[in-house]
């Protein structure tokens, strides 16, 4: 009796040891995340609470509330993020729906048009829009020769250009999870709805749409979170007229070498991101969101 108990204890200890050994295989990756991400960001967090005189102070956060220019940056960031997300939904949802209705082979072909820009360098795509939309660019040239408008319109170095570029870059992040959710919908439900007398429109809104909302939700949040911290596209296509939080962080470091101001903005940006993700995790699994983009 005593001997078997001893064995059981040994076995249990062995198993625990084995589990820890296996877990240890993750340590290089965890170490990397700690050293390059967690510790430096933790330090930024600390710096954001240090004032110009070197003591604890909230001056970096007070500045954000008291100065109008900072308030405007946050308003712009939210404006750009919300508008981009809405435009992505309006454009991406119908496209995902269209692709989901095709036979698999055709659907895969159409998906390539979504994946191709997804894989192309962000910088290259932003550059392409800059070339197309500038004053002497293709869009203006063609529109004027077709007689759509007479004077070259200003599309870049403003909000319009930023939104065009951002929507183009964010669309795949919305389309892929939405498409995934739509493919998973059992078509028999729609047949049943029609059999019971629902019009096509009614069947779509009462059966299909609600079943596709988890994908739509995951995709929209992904787009929104990515927009909040976006830098390259607004910096190039906004031409200094669209200033988002990330750009202010960069200029605070590069131009003013003001770590406190940059850190506090970074902390606020991170907190906003975490809040959005936390809300998201209550409705959908984080893995699904993260995996949705790939």
């Amino acid at each position: 009796m005593a001997a078997t108990d001893l064995h059981a204890a040994d076995l249990r200890r062995d198993e625990r040891l084995e589990r820890w050994k296996l877990f240890g295989l993750a340590s290089p990756a965890i170490l990397l995340v700690l050293v390059v991400l967690v510790i430096p960001v933790g330090w930024l967090f600390y710096v954001s609470f240090v004032g110009a005189d070197g003591n604890f102070s909230l001056e970096n956060y007070e500045r954000m509330v008291s100065r109008k220019s900072y308030l405007r940056i946050f308003v712009t960031t939210f404006q750009v993020s919300i508008l981009t997300t809405v435009l992505c939904i309006v454009i991406g949802y119908p496209l995902a729906y269209f692709i989901s209705q095709l036979p698999t082979r055709w659907a895969n072909l159409c998906l390539v048009t979504v994946l191709l820009p997804f894989w192309t360098s962000l910088l290259v795509r932003t550059y392409a829009w800059l070339v197309l939309l500038q004053k002497q660019g293709l869009v203006n040239q063609w529109a004027i020769s077709l007689g759509l408008w007479d004077e070259p319109l200003k599309f870049v170095h403003n909000m319009t250009g930023t939104l065009i570029g951002m929507v183009h870059i964010m669309l795949p992040f919305l389309i892929l999870p939405v498409y995934g959710a739509m493919r998973a919908i059992d078509k028999d439900y729609l047949k049943a709805a029609s059999n019971l007398g629902a019009s096509p429109r009614r069947a779509f809104w009462t059966v299909f749409f609600p079943l596709s909302t988890p994908g739509l939700f995951a995709g929209s949040l992904m787009v929104f979170v990515l927009c909040l911290g976006f830098f390259v596209t607004p910096a190039v296509l906004g031409g200094g007229r669209v200033i988002m939080v990330s750009m202010k962080i960069v200029s605070n470091i590069e131009l003013f070498v003001n770590w406190g101001a940059a850190s506090s903005l970074g902390v606020v940006l991170l907190v906003l991101t975490v809040i959005v993700l936390w809300i998201a995790s209550r409705f959908t699994r984080l893995e699904q969101m993260a995996g949705g983009g790939h």
Binding site: W20, L22, F23, L25, A26, P28, A29, I30, V33, V36, I39, P40, V41, W43, L44, P94, L95, Y97, F98, I99, C110, T113, L115, L116, P117, T120, S121, L123, V124, R125, Y127, A128, W129, V131, L132, Q134, H168, K187, L190, S194, P200, A203, F204, G229, F231, V232, A235, V236, I249, V250, I253, S263, G266, L269, L270, T273, L286, E287, A290, H294
Partner: protein
Amino acid sequence: MLNWLKSPASETQVTHGQRLWLYAFAAIIMMLLVLPTLIVIPMSFSDSQYLEFPPETWSLRWYRNYFGSAEWMQATATSLKTAVLTMLVATPIGVLAAYALHASRLPYIRAAFVLLITPMMVPVVLIAVGAFYAYVKLQILYTITGLVLAHSLLAIPLVVIVTGSALQGFDMNLEQAARSLGAPRWRAFLTITLPQIRFAVVTSMLLSFLASFDEVVIAMFISGGDNPTLTRNMFNALRDQIDPTIAAISTIMILITTLMMVLVAIFGRGKT
């Protein structure tokens, strides 16, 4: 044609005719998704200082400009070196981590998973500023080592997710069988498990390469001096003026990315 328009298009008996608006809309959007990027390619072969389409005269002027510039060549070398090294660093440690999370049944694996995918969630500007600070202290600012570490950080979530989902489709009993026949765990992993998840591993490698090769914001902060990356130089050039050399570089980058995608399609078959 008329018959097709009146034929049902879905289970709910919507006719193709009623859906024409959707078809037209989808066609336009798909064109808008692809064409803007592709149009850079013919433009890069233009002889003109001003980017025009279609080019009036063709030339390789901007390619000569690029290949003739020591600065661009050095930046390209830095980018390629960094991307290859990132691939070689991030893939093994990411695969190991994914395996650890899959096989170890400790209660902490959920927390570890969340930690490992945080680089994907944290705004990249914040990672860049943090790394900049840390690298000054560690004295690895403006080095390839520093770049590789930061880019590996970005690549790890991709590797963990892709490999992790492949492991979920793998029957661990096969590895158990090998081990009960006397193979040590590492050998069972290398000869039984790894071949089964090889497509995911190849996909992870290529994703890591691209994550590093395309990265701009972190490179803006921690690359420079003797080792600026291609993207960093491109971004700076874009801020100043529209130099057609960028079109040539963009074309080359599109070529590299397409090559990678084809490689994934060939070697990474199965699910991504």
